[in-house]
């Protein structure tokens, strides 16, 4: 072929050059960025790359006190699992407990101390020294002026020596205004146990060995006392024994998680649970199923509570009551427990007392599968005494409103959210010159504080715990930091200690420690000596301490006799009677009873800022992200309400709007709402989502226990015409006769 002329040649060069250039550039563009290989400066001794390290500590997200093991990799917490050595949860853990990581790594944590600037709700960061001096000075002055008693400390339900520390601190300050407040604290149950059993601490309910569980609204698989432990017990009760399968009966106006698992669900009128119990007592005594010496006394006491009489009040057929009573006595060991709706009416304590009587008559006290009275706890410190009932909190609120409170310190408690506004806490708070919050989250209460001293989350903090209710033998758990503190926060204990030193006077004398860790260790030295553990642990204290830290739990292995119980005193029997429940609001303009209920995920609202739980479909409705009003389909039909219609719920103390959900298992004269949503603060995941039923409660109180009767508010509903389709994961919730739940297609 002919030779290429010059112009063409240049063209070739050009083309080749451009092409090659483009190729190079393309290659460069596809190359991934340089990765660095960062070594440690000094290697920690328990570090090995790519291998998980487990730390045992305690879950603080509810009061059950489960032991947890946290898996960490390269110094970061990866997963929370139950601590297999721990007698309460035995290696298992609930949704809330596992979501604890979301609390630790929550994007909305308070990262530095904050000081109010201008109106409440506006903050500016300050450093710790400044913050502590600020508070220290104030407390110091009060102390010098002998006004220490105007310092109030309200803590969430904390147990163990951190509580003792708080107590000592307040005492030294000259103030005995130190209380715990937990919305879920079963005050009525304590009262009932005092009434019938003379017990200050809760007994152990041995569900796993029971063959019959008669539960009056106690959601023991979801929220009652120690759900993880009871779930495990439930598993054993159902399939753990070869010879028998225990039966579960649930009596409650709205089917709870437990109700769903029960063999029989009986929808009684709200607040009539105690009456039912009394009727059963009547049947048992009357039909000669109980032949104790005090039979006649019982006969008298329960005279008026004939099944027929109660049937009318409770809307449960008389023969059902009789049948249940007989079943209960026949299938021993059996358990009668009460909670939930039964424990949230104006007759709560009396109802639970009546339920206790069932156990007494069945003679299943201190027997396997029955009620076993716990021996005294490991540490003498008994925070239960410091638990504020709603009534007791009322006195505080009055004091605050009256200007008697100069400094209010709150720790891990959010009364602004968990108390009904009608209680007037928020207004009273405004009257307090200085509000200090030790919270690690900007919750509703913290938002109204003047000074925020962010405490560690429980995964960064030291502490110990004695589970309550215990498990039949004394147990203590140690909690330790599993990761380095993420932010400029401090251990609540350390804050108190440094405050003590800041204030001076005799405080540094009674609280000489500078680190909570040392304080804890010394307190344990004391137990160690007192309990003469040396005998069984063999080595010295340090060995014991390290062993305890490694195991995360220490259970006393000298078996103690459960506390004896001999009969109910005559006068108590005679005194026992269950009044019908009182309600706020008239039936004619408020035809329904509003039943707020706890969910395992959100508990009293503290779970709402954990994204995993916001995205966890509600076990019974599969709804995520938001709150709803549960209405019986029949009722809904009457009001022409479809799912997703926004309804207005009015009570004597207010009203709220939420989408309706047609719940097949709720009484037609009851509407229910989950507690936990409807936060106005508390981080991006919780804020402005759903509605909070507590906001519209009329705070009636159960006189006997001082507990807030939070199911005793009547409500009316109105269809607003607006719609807000619920976000739920379920499609159709009927099997349509398909072979899903059974080996053969169901017939529907």
């Amino acid at each position: 072929m002919e030779k290429i002329n010059r112009r063409d040649f240049l063209k070739f060069i050009g083309a080749g050059g451009i092409g090659a250039g483009a190729g190079l550039l393309y290659g460069e563009s596809t190359r991934k960025t340089v990765e660095l290989l960062i070594p440690q400066v000094v290697t920690p001794e328990d570090y090995s790359p790519g291998i998980a390290t487990w730390y045992n500590t305690v879950c603080r997200l509810c009061s059950a006190g489960c032991g947890i093991s946290v898996r960490t990799r390269e110094g970061r917490a990866k997963k929370i699992e139950g601590n297999p050595n721990h007698p309460v949860n035995q290696g298992r853990l609930c949704a809330l407990g596992q979501a604890g990581l979301n609390a630790l790594y929550n994007p909305d944590r308070i990262r530095t101390p904050l000081r109010r600037t201008g109106d409440r709700g506006n903050f500016a960061p300050i450093d710790w020294d400044e913050a502590l001096t600020l508070l220290g000075r104030r407390l110091g002055n009060l102390k010098i002026k002998k006004q220490g008693s105007s310092v109030y400390l309200l803590a969430g339900g904390l147990r163990g020596h951190i509580d003792t520390l708080f107590y000592t601190f307040m005492q030294a300050l000259g103030s005995d205004h130190y209380l715990h407040y937990e919305f879920t604290h079963p005050a009525a149950l304590y009262a009932a146990n005092r009434m019938i059993f003379n017990q200050d601490i809760l007994p152990y309910y041995d569900i796993s060995n029971a063959s019959y569980v008669l539960s009056f609204g106690a959601d023991y698989l979801g929220t009652w006392l120690s759900p993880v432990h009871y779930s495990q017990a439930y598993g054993h009760l159902r399939q753990g024994r070869t010879d028998q399968r225990g039966k579960c009966v649930q009596i409650e106006p709205r089917m709870s998680l437990t109700g769903a698992s029960a063999d029989e669900w009986i929808a009684c009128r709200p607040g009539s649970e105690g009456l039912l119990a009394m009727a059963m007592v009547h049947v048992i005594v009357n039909d000669g199923l109980y032949r104790g010496p005090d039979r006649n006394a019982w006969l008298e006491a329960t005279g008026p509570y004939t099944p027929e009489a109660v049937a009318a009040q409770a809307d449960v057929a008389a023969d059902v009551i009789t049948r249940l009573a007989h079943e209960f006595i026949r299938n021993q060991p059996g358990l009668a427990i009460g909670g939930g709706s039964a424990a949230s009416h104006t007759n709560a304590a009396a109802s639970l007392a009546a339920i206790n009587v069932l156990n007494y008559l069945a003679g299943n006290l201190n027997t396997p599968g029955g009620v076993i009275f716990n021996p005294d706890p490991v540490s003498p410190a008994s925070p239960v005494a410091r638990q504020a009932s709603y009534a007791r909190l009322q006195e505080w609120i009055e004091a605050m409103a009256g200007g008697g409170v100069d400094v209010l310190i709150t720790h891990a408690v959010n009364p602004v959210f968990t108390l009904p506004p009608a209680a007037g806490f928020t207004e009273a708070l405004a009257k307090v010159p200085m509000v200090v919050s030790l919270s690690s989250f900007m919750d509703e209460t913290t938002a109204l504080a003047d000074l925020v001293l962010p405490a560690h989350t429980y995964l960064e903090a030291w502490g110990d715990d004695m589970p309550e209710p215990g498990v039949g033998f004394p147990v203590a758990t140690l909690s330790q930091p599993v990761v380095k503190p993420l932010y400029d926060t401090r251990d609540a204990g350390d804050i108190i200690l440094s405050l003590a030193h800041q204030i001076g006077g005799e405080l540094p004398v009674v609280l000489p420690w500078t680190r909570i860790e040392d304080y804890l260790k010394d307190s344990w030295k004391h137990i160690y000596g007192q309990r003469r553990i040396t005998a069984d642990s063999g080595g010295n204290f340090d060995e014991f301490w390290n062993a305890a830290l490694a195991a995360g739990v220490w259970g006393e292995n000298i078996t103690r006799e459960p506390l004896r119980f001999d009969g109910v005193a005559e006068d108590r029997i005679r005194a026992l009677q269950v009044p019908p429940p009182a309600f706020a609001g008239e039936e004619k303009d408020h035809p329904f009873v509003l039943l707020p209920y706890l969910t395992q995920a959100f508990h009293d609202g503290r779970g709402a800022n954990l994204p995993w739980l916001q995205e966890l479909p509600d076990p019974l409705t599969s709804i995520v992200y938001g709150a709803w009003v549960e209405i019986n389909p029949a009722t809904a039909k009457r009001f022409g309400i479809r799912e997703g219609d926004i309804v207005e719920v009015q009570t004597p103390s207010g009203s709220l709007r939420a989408p309706a959900f047609l719940y097949p298992a709720i009484r037609p004269d009851v509407i229910a709402m989950p507690i936990g949503q409807g936060h106005s603060q508390y981080g991006r995941y919780a804020r402005g989502r759903g509605a909070n039923p507590l906001e519209i409660l009329s705070p009636l109180v159960d006189e006997a226990s001082g507990a807030l009767a939070w199911s005793a508010t009547r409500a009316g509903i109105r269809k607003t015409g607006e719609r807000a389709p619920l976000i739920k994961t379920d499609g159709v919730t009927r099997t349509l006769g398909r072979q899903i739940l059974d080996d053969k297609p169901a017939h529907t």
């Binding site: 499609g731 349509l736 006769g737 398909r738």
Partner: protein, 441 residues
């Protein structure tokens, strides 16, 4: 028809060649519109989706297949009549085909391309699409040859290649005609396209032979392609899709929509390129008859589908049927029945059959119906599978709808390019149909 004057050979060349050699402003306007729409409605949304993920579409966990796949089937279907029809008619030696087959085959080609595009749009990670092609690699990784989707890839590529060869072969003599009628660069280009065709007896013989061979070869291919597409669905367990009838159902549906498509295109060509003298009532008449036949078969299969569903007696099939006939998308279903089963019955009337405008409307309606049919298949079956708790709902997103509209523009653009590149009516074959005595002009 009285005033119809049959064209002379010279006229044929002139008339048809001017459609591609002479380009008026109207062409450029139309071309401009289609290409812009294609860019704005198809490619831009696609790029956006590429960037954020397929979430840009309306699909969810209850219906992971959406309009992308239904459109894919639709375009595959549209591709069907073209090559298949022209091949069948060629073998059966029906002369009336000659004027229309070129554009029909072009349709095949371009709708196949559009369909292929939709596969890409559908993929979650289209940048790895080459993994579905068996290329030897040092990792020893191969595609999964059991997968109906892989059958698809094979079938479609084969069909694409075969039909492009088929259409090209048919055009060679015409390219020669273009070459002789033009000058300069185009002349040289077409010299290459036409492989230096000189029109000797030998060449005509070879062409005829090869052409017939390909015609025979293409027919089973066309049938297989849509059967395989149907297996994508039929091989699943999904109630409403898991049916043996699906292969014939799809094939018949494909030819049906394809034939309707031809009518549409013919109408437009005739109008816009004033080919009234070549595309004539006879074509309309024959295609009309074909449409009736196909619509009857199609309706029959639909009834059969309902029957099998009902006869199965399972909760699954019942629910699927219920949702299809009376569920949210029921209006679409009945619309489909009206357009594809009832409306075509009008064609029985010769008056309607021979009226260009009426047939044009009907053909459009049929294809709307077929488009919905494909949509119903994906949109009503998946959200009603086996576990009621996982029942759901699917509605296409804006991006999806835009891309659907855009796809038509893509097709149109390609077709417009085509008519300027190849004579859209076969010059030499039209001549074959003319009366010999008029040969001397």
């Amino acid at each position: 028809m009285a005033d119809y004057r049959e064209p002379a050979y010279a006229d044929v060349n002139r008339d048809i060649l001017q459609t591609m050699l002479v380009t008026g402003p109207r062409y450029w306007i139309v071309f401009g519109i289609t290409s812009t729409v294609a860019l704005v409605c198809f490619f831009l949304p696609w790029i956006y989706q590429w960037h954020v993920g397929v979430g840009a579409a309306g699909m969810n966990r209850n219906a992971v297949w959406g309009t992308y796949l239904s459109n894919f089937i639709f375009w595959i279907g549209l591709s069907h009549s073209g090559t298949l029809l022209s091949a069948v008619l060629h073998i059966t030696g029906s002369g009336w085909r000659k004027a229309i087959y070129r554009s029909a085959e072009a349709m095949t080609l371009f709708s196949l391309m559009t369909a292929a595009l939709f596969v890409m749009v559908h993929l979650g990670r289209v940048w790895f699409v080459h993994w579905s092609i068996p290329i030897p690699n040092p990792m020893g990784l191969w595609p999964n040859f059991r997968s109906p989707l892989l059958f698809d890839v094979m079938a479609i590529t084969t069909y694409l290649v075969a039909s492009s060869i088929f259409i090209y072969m048919g055009s060679v003599p015409d390219y020669a005609a273009v070459r002789d009628a033009s000058t300069g660069l185009r002349r040289r280009l077409y010299a290459i396209f036409s492989f230096g065709w000189r029109g000797t007896a030998q060449e005509w013989h070879t062409l005829g032979w090869a052409y017939t061979f390909f015609a025979v070869f293409v027919i089973p291919l066309a049938v297989s392609v849509h059967s395989i597409v149907s297996w994508d669905f039929a091989m699943s367990l999904v109630p409403g899709l898991h049916q043996t009838i699906f292969a014939p159902y799809f094939v018949c549906g494909a030819i049906y929509s394809g034939t309707a498509g031809i009518v549409t295109v013919m109408y437009l060509l005739r109008r816009c390129l004033n080919l009234e003298r070549y595309i004539r009532e006879i074509h309309l008449d024959n295609l009309g008859k074909l449409l009736i036949a196909l619509s009857l078969v199609w309706s029959y299969i639909n009834i059969l589908e309902l029957f099998t569903g009902w006869y199965s007696g399972t909760s699954y099939e019942y629910e699927a049927l219920r949702f299809k006939l009376f569920g949210f998308y029921a209006p679409l279903y009945w619309e489909m029945i009206t357009f594809c089963a009832l409306v075509p019955l009008l064609i029985f009337w010769k008056k309607i059959r021979l009226s260009w405008n009426r047939m044009f409307v009907i053909s459009i309606l049929i294809n709307i119906g077929m488009l919905t049919e494909r949509f119903i298949i994906v949109a009503t079956s998946q959200p009603r599978k086996f576990l009621p708790a996982a029942f759901g709902f699917y509605f296409p997103s804006v991006v999806e709808i835009m891309i659907t509209i855009g796809s038509f523009a893509v097709f149109a653009t390609l077709f417009l390019i085509f008519i300027k590149w190849t004579p859209c009516v076969s010059i030499y074959e039209v001549k074959e149909t003319l009366k010999p005595l008029r040969r001397a002009a």
